[in-house]
Amino acid sequence: MLQQVIFILMAIFTLGMALGTVTARNLFHAALFLVGTFAGVAVLYVLLEAEFLAVSQVVVYIGAIATLIIFAIMLSRSMMGKEAGAMNKQWLFAAGGSALLFIVLAMLLSKVPFATQVAPVPPDTIEQIGSSFVGVYVIPFEVASVLLLVALIGAIMLARERHG
């Protein structure tokens, strides 16, 4: 019961923050809303008993990605400009389409009988994750690390000023 209440509150909070993210005119506010969304999602992870992911979510999304976005926004205030409206011409269609998509998805999801089971989370989840990263998923893991490295170098190369 308590869990349900917390879930509903957190869901409302998260979705509200998300709506704020996509509607806020001020880009900095949008970024703050985004941080709020990430935090809400992290709480949802805690409710799912995925503490590791929850904490990772905060570290990576709030600590790195959101900070990066805010940093970019702050660095480039002139980039944002003061153009009329944050939305483009098709926003109404987009809103309608997204809403329709949600409705259809929600109808579908509430109908599908997923084969759920009620089982406790094993106490050694983190160990499981760790050993599957160096075991079954070692190649994807390495590929992901290479991806990060490439993205790092690529970002530097893309963003650096070219003189002369």
Partner: protein, 721 residues
């Protein structure tokens, strides 16, 4: 086990081949490096050859089981054609000779290939031939061919290397292809190369036909298989009905076809015409190809194929007799021509033909061992003589240039004409003395020189086996040989210089004279290994090691070999003709040396006979009048048939009809129907595109919206349909 050295045999032809590719691909720019690469490579081959050869010589029992190494090559139906290397006594002997002579000639060439006189002196940058590197590439490839031919263990491989040599011969004879002479009748290097190539081709085609027949009957071309008793009996027993000749055995036919291949390569009558003209190539080439190695390949082929010839002479003796006849005839024929030549290299060329005739004659009378002996010895002294003549020519050319600078311009000057020489022994002592040693060997100067022993053995064999016609023919040829050789020596080295050029000729560089001296050693001592056992006194000292070895090999192959008793008559005859020839030459040329501008005394005494000899019995002219003219006429007819009368008109007619038809198609179908359709399609596409392009806003968000709507439709279908 020392025999394991034989496993290296297949490596012998390899270093020159690598050198060839290295020079062609990498070191072409650097002349000295190229020559060093080639000499280094051939030296490696030389060392390997001598290792193999000496190992064989020191283990004479190996003749019983010759070394044979094979790898599968071509799958041919049910059998597999193998390639590989084999070493028997003949191969060992050839390797001993070829490796050494090749190396000597390579070293000699590095000194000889200076800037040639016929080119524009402005091109002369470093005193070397502009195509110096190319020359070494060619002779490296040639060395591959010769060494590969010697070690090949089957006829097809032998043939392939044979053809490689033919190609190199062509390339090297025409090496100075831009050279022209003021006399339009004189053959140029380019034409000479072509002539050599085409003439030997006649023999090669016949050889190939023989090879194919042999393959049909033997099922293999490996020497071991061909020479097995079964195969030999089979081809001797099978007969074929030939037009003109009637019923003959396949062995006879095959051996004759192979023999013609050998005739082409070894320049025997009637295919001898190319060899004298091949002297247009650089002198090392003449020495290398046209004295020591390639021409002896023909003899080597017959030596190899002797079991087949034996099988051919099983019923009647026609094949062998034919060989002996051709050989003896050529020996005398060429010797007579040589007497009347003034060109120093041409004399040697005809002497080569003549000496090869000796070998064929020896093979024809069954003196297999004597033929091999003469083949090896001849290579040493003939190589020496050619290199020596090259050195002489070089010296005279240098002398000419020297005189030319002093202002004695005489127009065109032939540095190879012996009448332009004289007294060179003083100017070029090393060249002169080695040349005299080689000449003595060629003349068969008794007891000392190698040539005496090898020639004597052939004559003894001929005498002992009752081939008196051959004996007398060869004896006459030997007399002439001694005569023209010493004629050459007297004209070249004795007396007084007859031109300014000869008076100023310098001695050649050490890289040319050192090979001469090394070869001279072999030209003398080489013969001692073959002194007959029963020769009084000398025979017992060395006890004829060559004869024992080759004789043992001959018995393994089922060939005729016997240790001859000593007969005084052939030895005396041989000594007489040699010394007599030398004496005659001294009488005519030595006693009273020729003066400048004085004609050859022989010309005066023999008159028209000398003219005939000088013009080589008009064989070339005869060929021109018959074979060449017929070939040209036939080619003309073919051309006319092809382009004027029949084929071209038909083709043109078909073409014209086709063109008309195509024009009609174009006008009535292609342009209105097909082009219209294609253009219409294009127009429609364009029109459609100009409408549809409005959809393409270039904004990813628009596309995403469309994507969203599509997904919505699909989901709705899942949901409601």
């Amino acid at each position: 086990m020392s025999e394991s050295i034989f496993n290296l045999t297949w490596l012998i032809p390899l270093p020159p081949l690598l050198a060839f590719f290295a020079i062609i691909l990498f070191t072409n720019r650097n002349k000295r490096l190229s020559s060093n690469v080639a000499i280094g490579a051939v030296s490696v081959s030389w060392i390997l050859s001598w290792l193999v050869a000496i190992t064989f010589f020191t283990n004479p029992e190996l003749v019983k089981k010759p070394f044979n190494l094979m790898v599968p090559w071509l799958p041919t139906g049910t059998t597999t054609f193998s390639m590989g290397v084999a070493v028997d006594a003949v191969t060992a002997g050839m390797l001993f000779m070829v490796g050494f002579v090749l190396t000597m000639i390579f070293i000699y060439s590095s000194g000889y290939m200076t800037f040639p006189g016929h080119l524009d002196p402005a091109l002369n940058t470093d005193g070397l031939d502009p195509r110096y590197s190319r020359f070494f590439a060619y002779i490296s490839l040639f060395a591959t061919g010769m060494l590969g031919l010697v070690v090949a263990n089957n006829l097809l491989m032998l043939f392939i290397f044979w053809e490689i040599m033919g190609l190199c011969s062509y390339l090297l004879i025409g090496f100075w292809y831009e050279k022209k002479y003021p006399d339009p009748k004189q053959i140029t290097p380019k034409e000479a190369g072509l002539k050599a190539f085409l003439t030997t081709r006649v023999g090669d085609v016949l050889l190939m036909v023989g090879m194919i027949f042999l393959y049909i009957f033997a099922g293999d071309l490996n020497f071991q298989v061909i020479f097995s008793g079964d195969t030999l009996q089979h081809i001797a027993a099978m007969t074929v009905n030939l037009p003109l000749f009637g019923e003959t055995s396949w062995a006879v036919l095959i051996s004759m076809l192979i023999f013609f291949g050998a005739i082409g390569k070894s320049a025997q009558f009637p295919l001898h015409v190319w060899l004298p003209d091949a002297m247009e190539g650089p002198t090392p080439v003449s020495a290398l190809i046209h004295a020591a190695t390639m021409v002896s390949a023909g003899v080597y082929l017959i030596v190899r194929m002797s079991p087949i010839f034996m099988a051919a002479s099983h019923g009647h003796n026609g094949a062998m007799t034919f060989v002996a006849f051709i050989g003896a005839f050529t020996a005398l024929f060429a010797a007579t021509i040589a007497v009347a030549q003034n060109d120093i290299k041409r004399v040697l060329a005809y002497s080569t033909i003549s000496q090869l005739g000796y070998m064929f004659a020896a093979l024809g009378i069954g003196a297999w061992v004597a033929a091999i002996f003469h083949l090896l010895i001849h290579a040493f002294f003939k190589g020496l003589l050619f290199l020596g003549s090259g050195s002489v020519i070089h010296g005279v050319e240098h002398g000419h240039h020297h005189a030319h600078e002093q202002g004695h311009d005489e127009g065109y000057f032939d540095a190879q004409d012996m009448l332009n020489m004289g007294g060179l022994l003083k100017r070029m002592p090393r060249t002169g003395w080695t040349f005299i040693l080689g000449g003595a060997a060629l003349s068969g100067f008794p007891l000392i020189t190698a040539g005496f022993w090898s020639k004597d053995e052939i004559l003894s064999d001929a005498w002992a086996n009752g081939h008196s016609l051959v004996f007398w023919t060869l004896a006459a040829a030997a007399l002439l040989t001694a005569f023209y050789t010493f004629r050459q020596i007297f004209l070249t080295f004795f007396g007084k210089p007859r031109t300014e050029a000869a008076a100023h000729a310098p001695e050649s560089v050490p890289s040319m004279t050192v090979p001469l001296m090394l070869l001279a050693v072999f030209a003398v001592v080489g013969g001692w290994i073959g002194i007959p056992e029963h020769f009084p006194g000398l025979g017992t000292i060395l006890n004829n090691p060559l004869g024992r070895l080759m004789g043992g090999q001959a018995q393994v192959y089922g060939l005729h070999y016997e240790v001859l008793d000593f007969h005084l008559f052939p030895v005396v005859a041989s000594m007489t003709v040699a010394l007599g020839g030398i004496f005659l030459a001294w009488l005519v040329y030595g006693r009273r040396p020729l003066k400048t501008g004085e004609p050859d005394p022989l010309q005066v005494w023999l008159g028209p006979v000398h003219t005939v000899l000088r013009n080589k019995y008009y064989v070339d002219e005869f060929y021109h009048a018959t074979v060449v003219r017929f070939a040209r006429w036939f080619a003309d007819m073919c051309y006319a048939f092809d382009s004027r009368w029949f084929i071209d008109p038909i083709v043109n007619g078909v073409g014209r009809i086709g063109r008309w038809f195509a024009g009609a198609l174009r006008r009535f179908i292609d342009e209105p129907v097909i082009d219209g359709a294609v253009n219409g399609l294009g127009l429609v596409t364009q029109a459609a595109g100009s409408v549809v392009r409005l959809l393409q806003t270039g904004q990813a968000q628009n596309y995403l919206l469309v994507l969203l709507l599509t997904v919505l439709v699909l989901l709705a279908m899942v949901q409601f349909v």
